[in-house]
Amino acid sequence: MQHYSLLSLARNALTGHKNWQKAWRSPPLKEKYEVIIIGAGGHGLATAYYLAKEFGITDVAVLERGWLGGGNVARNTVTVRSNYLRDQSVPFYVKSVSLYEGLTKNLNFNMMHSKRTMVDVVHNYPKMRDLRRRQLTMDIYNSTYEQISVDRVRELIPALTGGGPGSRLPIIGGMVHKDAGVNRHDAVAWGYARAADALGVEMHQKTAVTSLLRAKNGDISGVETVKGTVKAKKVVVAVSGHTTTITETAGLRLPLRTMNLTAFVSEPIKPIVDVIVNCSDLGFYFSQSDKGELVIGGAPDSAQSFRRDIKQHVFEDTVGAMLELFPSFKKLKLLRQWGGHLDITPDASPIMDETSVPGLYVTAGWWGGYKAIPAGGLTMAHQVATNSPHPLMETFSHNRFKNLDYILETGTTTAR
């Protein structure tokens, strides 16, 4: 793998940058692999990387129907955090956050990972109580969450001029989560892809999987693609909202529903907000990108959808909520907006498992899986390589639904 650094940049500058190598190859599709990963998104690429790096399994093909890193990881509000409620969830996300922090170095690709601190702006006491419960549970797993006063909230977010005592929803305080961060989503996808490729993993774009294939005894035997049949004894489905579409070709049903979540950016402006602002009561959250754009998200749409579009009334609600606390943004302008589809399980926690079809693995139901990419990839790679679940991932087995053992995670950002 060509090393990226200021020195190599300078050296290449002398030759007009004509000697940079491809970040990943485009080899011909073989007939057989040890592992096939469907979906070159964040989770798929991370899984491929860790399979090769940690477990030495390199006969891996990542099959992507569109372009690499072109799904949800291509358009994202990139909030990396670990402020979850349940004992089963917190350690997983703590691991993911710490993996993110070392990712630039490990992949030799600048993630532009910026530890930003997330500030929860709180308007009612039940919410404060819920957050405090999180705080004290998170503490057990070394994730920090501290309560702060209204004054401190305003100190951290000077642009927050609304929410005063006479307003409709006065702020009563806040919580800070110092572990939170943002980074560059394309870099995450490209960094994992490049590093995985350097270890021998193959990326195959424009190679849509039309069907899973099962052997006579019911085990997974491979996939049917638009470029022909490819055999493998282990297949990982990492396609977010399209999970049920793919797994149903193998006769496997999963408790997932695909929903639409949207986000938008403002025009680029000089630095105005240095933290991640989260206001779940009003229904919005945002941070400022390094380019100066405010990256803003709100609540998901109701009703299942694969349309990846904007619902005007949901969008207006999010904007209205933001303007309630940031009235000076009224004349600031919307630059671009988009939608993506995510899948959700009955308890809003993910499914990471070998399914009831031997050899078929699924990582789904993330309902916002960006922050989970490193840990998700690592634990899924562990499962695939060692045929046993990683301790951090065990509780996310789909078997928990057999006895309705929900891991209910709701009320984190407005995305849930």
Binding site: F109, M111, R133, L136, L332, L334, L408
Partner: protein, 977 residues
């Protein structure tokens, strides 16, 4: 008059002179100018600096397509970034350049050009890694942001939004749109015509064409006049259709509203059919140093001359690959511009086109090799494609045209598809996904005569009702032709100078090649890697060149490369406009009862409770804090009498033959066996066995019942009940009426409650034998018709007096008055919380966290064993059958009676830093016990009474004794008294 202003002509009003300032200097312009035309008239060349390299930028386009002239407006007009080609000139306007320091003419940032080679596209992915990104980030952030955000909201004016339904929404008031409007409007259909420009006319505003032997604008004005008088037509100018959503919903932002107190107005227009007539935008050509100030789009030069009466230069060279520039020659020459040469990249140019260039030097089969002049063009280098001979021509203006892009943005947003049309070397609409038609230049039809013919044809088949759409008049105009030979990029293999594809983000031809070289081969990869097309202009003039270059490099067609996704907004829209007028309580109405004002007058500390109810938390006396007030209220309830406003409780009346069965289905216990006049407390579960709501159900007579739910979930319960009846038991006779707002109640609770009730005066027999717990009576209380229910959420003797809202305040005041002798106090939600914790009563927000079932909470007695089925039963049993350890409700008494346990604090084995075994759901100061008492959910709690639990608050451990979950009157004698 400024030296670039022509003596006459244009659509400006020379009688209205306006003064404005730019970078601190004062200039003059006219009404009708944009900031750009006024700056050009005053001879300014350098307006901005490019994003990365800080190269000087001038005006390039004349409208929304301009990629470079971003400025910041100061003062009240301040609104982030704006293109000065779209800013209407107003008296006193103040603007300044951005992305430069100390000034746009002398910018220290330009020194970055010394490191040019180190900062190609994507360089930041390869460096800034050591020691950490944090070291570099602050500088990058300061350098990157363009304009500053406004610091305050607008001082005057507000935003508004409106909804409209229409038969036709016609987007664009150019020739196609205007003709379509005539046809649609004359048929009597309802029509909305919206156009982003200040006045109608579209391309006709700058092209000097004739219609019916008169100037085209005469026709435009006649159309506008006709439709202005038609009641079925709404005509909006300065209005941009920026989003095309599902089900033909289009969002339009009206920027100049007739009512000056409205800053902007947003329209949500639902159209039966949309007619998209958004025209086409000229695109640039790619050649070295094509970003120099003085290099402009040819149509922009034409527009500034014809529409704004400004000549951007005196000695002009034109560079083109298509026919359109030749029609400008007459107007530019008449304006006094010396056209030195037309450099045409094509070998063969049609005679019919050359006829317009009779006295002009046309250099065919040639390209521009270089442009000289750092801050303003001073010469261009022309190269023949044949023999590579070069020639330098001195000039001060270079106009170029790479062809025309149909504006397919809205069509694509509506999910229509596009295809590449070789005839015009552009993407055109292919299939519409919704009820929509594309006409005119946005459909790939450029010649005016063809536009009219096409519009007539397509509209004639477009009627949305039985009324036909026809055009009976004639529209004579000269036939025009258009041909183009695509030139995505010349041979730049040995070129050292930069050729730009995205002029705002400084994306060069080299950058595209670099991206492709590194394997970022998809058009979306190229965009993201180079940031091409991601600026304020979203690549309107440059994106297709990027696609063309990719196609060329990969040896495939542009259709195979594809376009990047078109997303809303078409042009940036202010957040204020999107939100409209909804603010504060308009956006989020809160619910209150007739007693709310009384609470506020009494100095109550108000909370926002579930379902947006505004409820009193506690009533502090002067000088009192939270705890003293709450203690006082609790004391009153436990020893004397208190009163609280229970009006927010959800209430429903159910009537019908099958109500009993229905209630048996939705509650865990049996309700159908109740006698009229009696009631029961019940739990509602969801079908997956989780606790949904709790409340009481009372029977009025054989077929009439009423139930009450928690205030926060009443809407959800309503939804739940109606859904079951609609889909699972449509044959059942159950009619439900939501009576939440129809009944208010004042609940009198405490040992003196009965005495107070009698003192108020009633015709009901209030004694325990005649009026037992969990029953209700109807009659008069204090001369007010009332329904009195004996329920208790505080554990004390309690009468819930339900009256109609118009009597509520009177009842309340009477209760307070008569209750004085018993020491009555109004009770807030904080005191209620304490009282119910003492009794171990369920609170949905505290004990119910999605993991516990009624058995865990000690409410197994509510789970009917007799009923074969009720909602949730099967799932509760299923969940419990796994044998997993359950968290059960217990009481907690901190070993130190004066130590409070924070609500939510986890309990871990021996207080160690390991997985939790439970958590504290509540902890309150109990007046009757004179200590802190709490409740918790704890693994195997019921088997651990008397043992110690360790609550972990980070490194501090609070030890507490595990007890039964009740701290007062465990046998429930008081509420049954």
């Amino acid at each position: 008059m400024s030296h670039n202003r022509l003596k006459s002509g244009g659509r400006i009003d020379r009688s209205k002179s306006l003064s404005f300032s730019f970078n601190g200097k004062i200039y003059q312009g006219f009404e009708g100018d944009t900031l750009a035309s006024a700056l050009l008239a005053n001879g300014l060349n350098v307006i901005a600096r490019s994003f990365k390299y800080h190269r000087p930028r001038g005006i390039i386009g004349s409208g929304v397509e301009d990629p470079a002239s971003l400025i910041e407006l100061l003062g009240e007009e301040g609104s982030g970034n704006n293109l000065c080609t779209t800013v209407k000139l107003k008296e006193g306007l103040k603007a300044k350049s951005i992305n430069c320091w100390p000034s746009v003419d002398f910018d220290i940032g330009a020194s970055v050009q010394y490191f040019e080679k180190l900062i190609p596209a994507g360089f930041y992915y390869k460096t800034f890694m050591w020691p950490t990104w944090h070291l570099f980030e602050p500088f990058i952030r300061i350098a990157a942001g363009l304009a500053s955000a406004p610091k305050t909201p607008p001082k005057t004016g507000h935003f508004e939004s409106r909804n409209a339904h229409t038969d036709f929404l016609i987007i664009g008031a150019g020739p196609a749109g205007l003709l379509a409007t005539l046809m649609a409007a004359r048929s009597g259909a309802k029509v909305f015509l919206v156009d982003q420009n200040t006045e109608a006319g579209g391309s006709l505003l700058s092209l000097n064409l004739n219609i019916n032997q008169k100037p085209a604008m005469v026709w435009v004005e006649s159309v506008v006049k006709e439709i202005t008088n038609m009641p079925n037509v709404t005509h909006l100018q300065d209005s941009t259709a920026w989003a095309y959503r599902e089900h033909n919903l289009v969002i339009v932002n009206e920027r100049e509203v007739e009512n000056v107190s409205i800053i902007e107005r947003s329209w949500r227009i639902r159209a039966k059919k949309t007619i998209i007539a958004t025209g086409a935008i000229e695109r640039s050509l790619v050649f070295p140093n094509n970003d120099r100030p003085g290099v402009m789009l040819a149509s922009a030069v034409q527009t500034f001359v014809n529409r704004y009466s400004v000549k951007p230069g005196n000695n002009l060279v034109i560079f083109t690959n298509n026919d359109s520039v030749y029609s400008y020659i007459k107007d530019l020459t008449r304006a006094g511009i010396n056209i030195l040469a037309i450099v045409d990249s094509r070998k063969n140019i049609a005679d019919s086109v050359l006829v317009d260039a009779k006295n002009i030097r046309v250099i065919s089969n040639s390209i521009i090799k270089n442009v000289n002049g750092y801050k303003k063009v001073n010469s261009v280098v022309v190269q023949s494609l044949d023999d590579k001979e070069v020639e330098t021509i001195s000039c001060d203006l270079l106009a170029h045209s790479g062809g025309w892009n149909p504006m397919v943005h809205l069509h694509s947003q509506s999910r229509g598809t596009v295809k590449f049309d070789d005839r015009i070397a552009s993407f055109v609409p292919e299939y519409s996904a919704q009820n929509s038609i594309n006409i005119g230049a946005c459909n790939g039809t450029f010649a005016l005569n063809e536009i009219f013919d096409e519009t007539e044809l397509l509209l004639s088949g477009a009627s949305e009702n039985s009324k036909p759409l026809v055009y009976k008049g004639k529209l004579e105009c000269s036939k025009q032709s258009y041909s183009i030979e695509a030139l995505w990029s010349p041979d730049l293999s040995k070129e050292k100078n930069k050729a730009f594809l995205d002029i705002q983000n400084d994306v060069t031809h080299d950058d595209i090649q670099l991206a492709l070289r590194e394997g970022y081969s998809n058009v979306e990869h190229v965009k993201r890697y180079t940031t091409g097309g991601m600026g304020f202009d979203q690549g309107k003039t440059g994106n297709i060149n990027i696609i063309g270059v990719i196609a060329k490099e990969q040896g495939i067609g542009l259709d195979d490369v594809g376009t990047t996704t078109f997303r809303s907004p078409f042009t940036p829209v202010s957040f204020g406009s999107i939100n409209g007028v909804r603010e504060g309580s308009v956006a989020l109405p809160f619910r209150h009862t007739p007693v709310t004002k009384w609470n506020l007058d009494k100095g109550a500390f108000m909370y926002e409770a579930g379902a947006r109810w505004r409820r009193p938390g506690y009533f502090p006396m002067p000088g009192e804090g939270f705890q003293e007030a709450v203690n006082r209220e609790c004391h009153a309830v436990r020893t004397g009498v208190g009163v609280y406003d229970g009006s927010p409780l959800g209430k429903f009346e159910l009537k019908g033959e099958n109500v009993g069965e229905f209630l048996d289905l939705i509650y865990t216990n049996i309700m159908s066996s109740l006698e009229p006049g009696n009631g029961r407390y019940g739990l509602m579960l969801t079908d997956d066995g989780l606790i949904f709501d709790d409340g009481v159900a009372f029977r009025i007579d054989k077929h009439r019942w009423f139930i009450s739910t928690s205030s926060g979930h009443s809407d959800a319960v309503n939804q739940h009940m109606l859904k079951i009846l609609a889909f699972d038991y449509p044959e059942w006779d159950v009619k439900i009426t939501n009576i939440t707002s129809q009944w208010n109640n004042a609940t009198i609770c405490g040992p003196q409650a009965r005495k107070l009730l009698k003192k108020l005066g009633t015709d009901m027999d209030c004694e325990n034998d005649s009026f037992p717990f969990m029953s209700f009576r109807e009659g008069m209380i204090a001369n007010i018709p009332a329904r009195v229910i004996r329920v208790s959420f505080t554990g004390e003797l309690s009468f819930e007096v339900n009256v109609s809202p118009r009597n509520m305040l009177r009842l309340w005041e009477k209760i307070i008055e008569e209750g004085e002798e018993f020491g009555i106090l109004p009770v807030g939600s904080e005191a209620s919380h304490v009282l119910r914790v003492e009794k171990g009563f369920l609170s949905l927000g505290h004990e119910v966290d999605g993991t516990v079932d009624p058995y865990d909470l000690g409410m197994g007695w509510l789970m009917s064993k007799k009923k074969v089925d009720y909602i949730g039963k099967r799932s509760v049993d299923l969940r419990r059958s796994s044998g997993k350890v359950r968290r059960e409700l217990v009481g907690l008494l901190p070993n130190d009676p004066n130590e409070a346990i924070p609500e939510g604090a986890p309990i871990t084995p021996s207080g160690k830093k390991v997985a939790t075994e439970g958590f504290t759901t509540a902890c309150v100061w109990s007046v009757v016990n004179n200590r802190w008492v709490g409740l918790a959910l704890l693994e195997n709690g019921r088997a651990r009474y008397g043992e110690e639990a360790c609550v972990r608050i980070k490194d501090r451990i609070i030890s507490a004794k595990i007890t039964k979950p009740v701290h007062h009157d465990p046998d429930g004698k008081l509420l049954r008294s």
